[in-house]
């Protein structure tokens, strides 16, 4: 079976009137299989949206070839294309007074006739997608009364109601709070693995992408895309390389991003468990370099986990004091 999406030597960008087109990226070779959840990540402005718009046919490519299910993108009639690909775009929608089920039912447009008469089967698909996405209880609510997270799920349900092989989303988590982002990323992963869709999403949530994606397309500001399992990209240094711009450091140990530490004060820390990890983070933020060995003259912090109440003990300049919270500890450390 051919991959759902295949792009070869693809050149994307903008046609600029009669002048030379503005090329965003060139020589892209990309592939997306059914059941695969791919996150497109990269710094702002590298052309992630341009790539997604080109792959979904919203914007003409400049050169190269895109194939959907083994057939050229350009050869699709718009209605057939809608049976292959559906999208969730980044701009927030304002549809006025529409019910959730009415909005999701728009996903059936490629299947209904001129007057959009919905068959029983069409409604079944709509209700099923609302259930899969987890908003079936909201189906009679007006869209404008939903929270951002709920509304985004409804937009995903609408896209699913199109019964596409490929689902493309442009920053679906942009307006959501953290729990909302986790839920959406989980959902997308499930849609790919559990419903055999190919799912492609761009996102700025790198840590979530690392956790949920089957594969990552990492786009840098020269328009090059490194592909691989998230772990591969972490280990071969692609992640660090792409994002190590001024002030941001990718830590391959924790898979998190950190601000570059310019502190030079050193501190010795001992302890264990999660208290140790979080204390280390706090000290890091406060501008300390945490040492494995004690250097004479520098402060010494000892985390003592106890039943019910952890204490932080600080030895510095011949004095020993104990604190009940990290916050109190930080207040007393030498500036």
């Amino acid at each position: 079976m051919p991959p759902v999406l295949q792009a070869s030597r693809l050149k994307i960008g903008y046609k600029n009137g009669g002048k030379t087109p503005k090329v965003v990226a060139d020589q892209l070779n990309l592939q997306l299989r059914a059941g695969e959840f791919v996150c497109l990540v990269g710094p702002n402005g590298v052309g992630k949206s341009t790539l997604l718009r080109t792959l979904t046919g919203l914007q003409p490519k400049l050169a190269g070839e895109i194939q959907l299910s083994g057939r050229k993108l350009d050869a699709y009639h718009s209605r057939d294309l809608a049976n292959q690909v559906s999208v969730v775009l980044t701009s927030p929608i304002s549809v006025g007074a529409l019910r959730v089920d009415e909005l999701a039912a728009m996903g059936r447009f490629p299947f209904t006739g001129l007057f959009d008469r919905m068959s029983e089967h069409d409604w079944e698909v709509v209700h099923e997608t609302l259930r899969v996405v987890g908003v079936d209880k909201l189906s009679q609510r007006y869209v404008h009364t939903l929270s951002d997270g709920e509304r985004q799920k409804v937009m995903i349900a609408r896209a699913l109601a199109q019964e596409p092989r490929l689902l493309v989303l442009d920053e679906p988590t942009a307006y959501l709070d953290l729990p909302g982002r986790v839920v959406v990323m989980n959902l997308l992963h499930d849609l790919a693995s559990g419903h055999d869709k190919a799912v492609l999403t761009s996102t700025h949530d790198l840590e979530l992408a690392l956790r949920h994606a089957d594969r990552i397309w990492l786009m840098d500001d020269e328009g090059l895309i490194s592909q691989g399992a998230p772990e591969d990209l972490v280990l071969n240094g692609s992640f660090a390389q792409t994002f190590n711009r001024a002030g941001v450091l990718f830590d391959p140990l924790s898979g998190t991003f950190d601000t570059q530490n310019s502190g030079s004060k050193s501190v010795f820390l001992e302890g264990q468990g999660s208290e140790l990890i979080w204390t280390k983070r706090a000290l890091h933020r406060a501008g300390f370099v945490v040492n494995e060995e004690w250097i004479p003259g520098s402060p010494r912090v000892c985390v003592r986990p106890q039943e019910g109440a952890t204490t932080w003990q600080l030895e510095h300049a011949g004095q020993t004091s104990a604190f009940a919270s990290i916050y109190d500890l930080l207040q007393s450390l030498p500036k």
Binding site: S78, V87, S91, S94, V95, G96, A97, D116, R141
Partner: protein, 357 residues
């Protein structure tokens, strides 16, 4: 939160009830419009005239047949046309303030009429002796030519413009430029011609004769018929052209039909009745609020009924029943309509932002 809704069935019942109510209202306004005016005619005689019974006073037959009946039909048709045009513009531009004239159709018509009335002063009676105006075929012709030229321009430009917003700005700019030319003509014209022009610009449903009414009805029927093909496309446009495209719709064709329908509708009204404001922008909002939906499958029939009713009511009020005076229709629509829409908007519960189209 009061966002949980009644079940769809009770919502449907409410909508059917509203449709019925507006049908009754239209019937009542129709009969009242025939009965009331400078002279009152009893309803049973109105009925007599309508079915062609013998023995009704001659003058009443004349008044109903040649004045009031064409006027009320013109009002209903114009109301439908303006509302249909306004709805399509608001949806297409995703802008609650869009109205039928946003693309400059009425500016084109106004320029046509201004040239006919004011310009003839320079050219030497090209169109006139039409200072008596109102319904003069020369004016209808001038307005149609003006509106038609703008229409052609819009359709032409609409093919290669990237986004509807660009089109909107072009329409606005065109309107400004046209107004400037009209102002120039006014500035250099004789007072009686200026007065004639400004009377036209007040708008009126009177003076459309039966021949003209037939033409107008045909054109409006065609425009509304086009719109009736579009509930699906207009619903898709609520999400924007990009979404519409990914749902398999031919957005270029959709845009063309919307522009054609909306421009033909507003152009027809302006040509026969002058530039009539307010109805086109207000009725879609009234419909959304009363029917609590942005779904065009419901909105399209709704604005047809509400548009007809609102326009007939305005026309009735403009006649100032019992007096010899007649108010300009634009005065009535704005003076009575604005407070009504303010009320509709303010009484809405917070959050129910159907004003966001």
């Amino acid at each position: 939160m009061n966002s949980t809704l009644k079940s769809p069935t009770s919502q449907q019942a409410r909508r059917l009830w509203l449709f019925g109510l507006f049908l009754l209202l239209i019937l009542a306004l129709f009969l009242l419009s025939l009965a009331l005016g400078s002279v009152s005619i009893p309803l049973k005689d109105i009925w007599g005239v309508l079915i062609g019974r013998e023995g009704v006073r001659e003058s009443w037959v004349y008044i109903v047949q040649n004045s009031r009946l064409p006027r009320v039909l013109t009002a209903a048709l114009a109301g439908i046309a303006l509302s249909a045009s306004g709805l399509q513009m608001q949806t297409m531009f995703r802008n609650p303030l869009a109205d039928p004239f946003i693309l400059g159709i009425n500016s084109g018509a106004s320029l046509g009429v201004a040239i006919a009335i004011l310009g003839s002063g320079f050219v030497g009676g090209l169109f006139l002796p039409a200072l008596s105006l109102r319904g003069e075929f020369s004016l209808v012709l001038a307005a149609s030519v003006g509106a038609g030229l703008v229409l052609a321009l819009i359709l032409l430009v609409g093919r290669w413009v990237q986004t509807p917003t660009t089109l909107l700005i072009l329409g606005l700019m065109f309107g400004h430029a046209t107004s400037a030319v009209v102002s120039l003509l006014v500035y250099f014209s004789a007072p009686e011609r200026i007065q004639a022009y400004s009377i036209w610009s007040f708008g009126s449903f009177s003076g459309v004769n039966w021949t003209q009414l037939n033409v107008m009805a045909l054109v409006i029927l065609a425009g509304v018929g086009l719109m009736a093909l579009l509930p699906k496309g207009l619903n898709a446009l609520l999400l924007g052209e990009d979404y519409a495209r990914t749902m398999g719709l031919n957005v270029g064709l959709l845009r063309f039909i919307v522009l054609l329908s909306a421009s033909v509708l507003s152009g027809a009204v302006t040509a026969f009745c002058g530039p009539i404001g307010f109805i086109g922008v207000a009725v879609p909002h009234i419909a959304r609020n009363l029917f609590k939906t942005s779904n065009h499958k419901i909105l399209i029939p709704a604005i047809i009924l509400i548009g007809a009713a609102v326009s007939m009511a305005a026309s009735l009020i403009a006649q100032l029943p019992g007096s010899q005076l007649v108010l300009p229709i634009n005065v009535v629509t704005s003076l009575f309509g604005a407070p009504f829409v303010v009320w509709v908007v303010l009484k809405r519960k917070r959050g129910a932002t159907s004003f966001s189209v």
